[in-house]
């Protein structure tokens, strides 16, 4: 079993939270996983990205030059479209990323307006969870289990933010169902 994803955006969009949850979920499945973050010095708005790897074998480098799955949440990070491998999957947050360039071959490019979907649901703060659910539905890193996801969110967010978990799960499921419907 091997899975890799690179998620990039602007600080404050919750890009690192997305990566953290995937990794934590993998740990709950007794798999090896690495989460490698990178962020700017700014509290909000700086360029942020993370690489997540999941494997049933020992993981070597936690940093990758090219990745199977790439998610771009902000035009600020659109330079990272080059991170996708030939034949990989590139997911763009089309609410903000209006144009892109990707010279790799046979890349499946999927666009979803994650910010608009969140606003429609009445909560702009769940944008990243809709995107995470969508990524999960499209790329299926591991079988989705609501209880495990709850546990992963609690592990990352902590008791003090427990009350936000139900709305985040709901957003995840909305994105997941959208992702599952993609034919690739």
């Amino acid at each position: 079993m091997y899975y890799e994803v690179f998620i990039a955006g602007a600080g404050g969009q919750g890009v690192l939270l997305m990566g953290n949850i995937i990794s934590y979920y993998a740990m709950l499945n007794d798999l090896n996983t690495t989460f490698m973050p990178s962020y700017g010095v700014e509290m909000r708005g700086g360029m942020t990205h993370c690489t997540v790897i999941i494997s049933d074998e020992e993981i070597g480098s936690p940093v990758l030059q090219e990745v199977d799955n790439v998610v771009i949440m902000s035009p600020f990070a659109s330079q990272f479209t080059t991170m996708v491998k030939n034949g990989g999957i590139l997911i763009l947050n089309s609410s903000l990323v209006k144009s892109h360039q990707c010279e790799k071959e046979n890349v499946t490019i999927l666009k979803q307006p994650f910010n608009d979907l969140a606003l429609k649901a009445g909560n702009s703060k769940i944008t990243n969870m809709i995107a995470l659910g969508y990524l999960w539905g499209v790329t299926k890193p591991l079988p989705f289990d609501e209880k495990l996801l709850q546990q992963a969110m609690l592990g990352i967010l902590g008791e003090s933010k427990k009350k936000f978990i139900p709305s985040n799960i709901e957003a995840f499921i909305e994105g997941y169902q959208l992702g599952e419907r993609e034919k690739i």
Binding site: M27, N32, G60, S61
Partner: protein, 363 residues
Amino acid sequence: MEEKKIFEKGNIAIAMAAIAAGCKYYFGYPITPQSDIPEYLSRELPRVGGVFLQSESEVAAINMLLGAAATGARVMTSSSGPGISLMQEGISYMAGDELPAVIVNVSRSGPGLGGISPSQGDYFQATRGGGHGDYRTMVLAPHSVQEMWDFTIMAFDLADKYRNPVIILADGMLGQMKEPFVTRMPEPIPYPPKDSWALTGAKGRPGRVIKSLYLGHLELEKHVWKLNEKYERMKKEDTRWEEYMLDDPEIVVVAFGSAARIAKTAVKVARQEGYRVGLLRPITLFPYPYKRIRELSEKVEKFLTVELNAGQMVEDVMIGVGARSKVYFYGRPNGVGSLPTPEEIYNEIIKTLKNEKVPVNEF
């Protein structure tokens, strides 16, 4: 402590392990990429009855560490590149004073202010003593978050065993990445009781002096030889390394820390493609596994050293190999974006096998 599986940064693993190892006193000054350690300990140490103290500088921090270590307490500081340089005077004093302490270097790139990206440019500083005078510090090089935990606990035992500072040499990648790790207690390393030397107040016994100044005739020479006996004992009893796919190799890759991690992937791929490649990963950088390298050099013709610097540990590989084998080098010194990929290291392995690289030990 209850064994749990935790998903956290390498820096946090070090901070948690320090508390688990019984460290009660931390002195330090913030610097990227290790500030998670003081941040965590500033919150958690007071909860276990310990003291967290942010000093006015690294010079102050290391001298506070010296003072606290003299009482026999378990003490730790952490810093990165420039801060560790400022601490060198104090580390030399602690070696001379024979004081145990754990010093963590989550290294960044240099020289000078350099940058905050992962680097192994502090290898010489860590393994050759770093400060002035005739001394060594033991150096442990983790390559995973689990080892950040394990080695921190081991480092406290080893410091107490030898009454000597122990350095944990990590880097920004190991400090900042998250991985699951188990909060287990590694096999304890026995160490002598501290009540024969610690400064605990002289009530009911003669006073003691801890010092590194020896002005009498032949006095300092005797002291330095006594220190040296400990370094020789470290070599005999505590040289550690990991061997990966080292069966009947045609070429041995030598790498430590983050570089070893990336090299492991390259070695695995090369093995899958039928190349007889193995990895030797030094875990203690001092004492260095010269003996194992020597043994391997009796059978293996080529050694490829991979480092995140312009060539430091490669000199130790050359010492181990002597004139028996050829030593090759691939280095990516510091800087944003210069972390090598497994593919790059794989290509270097193939180039070495095809004699497309020039050995560094042909003078």
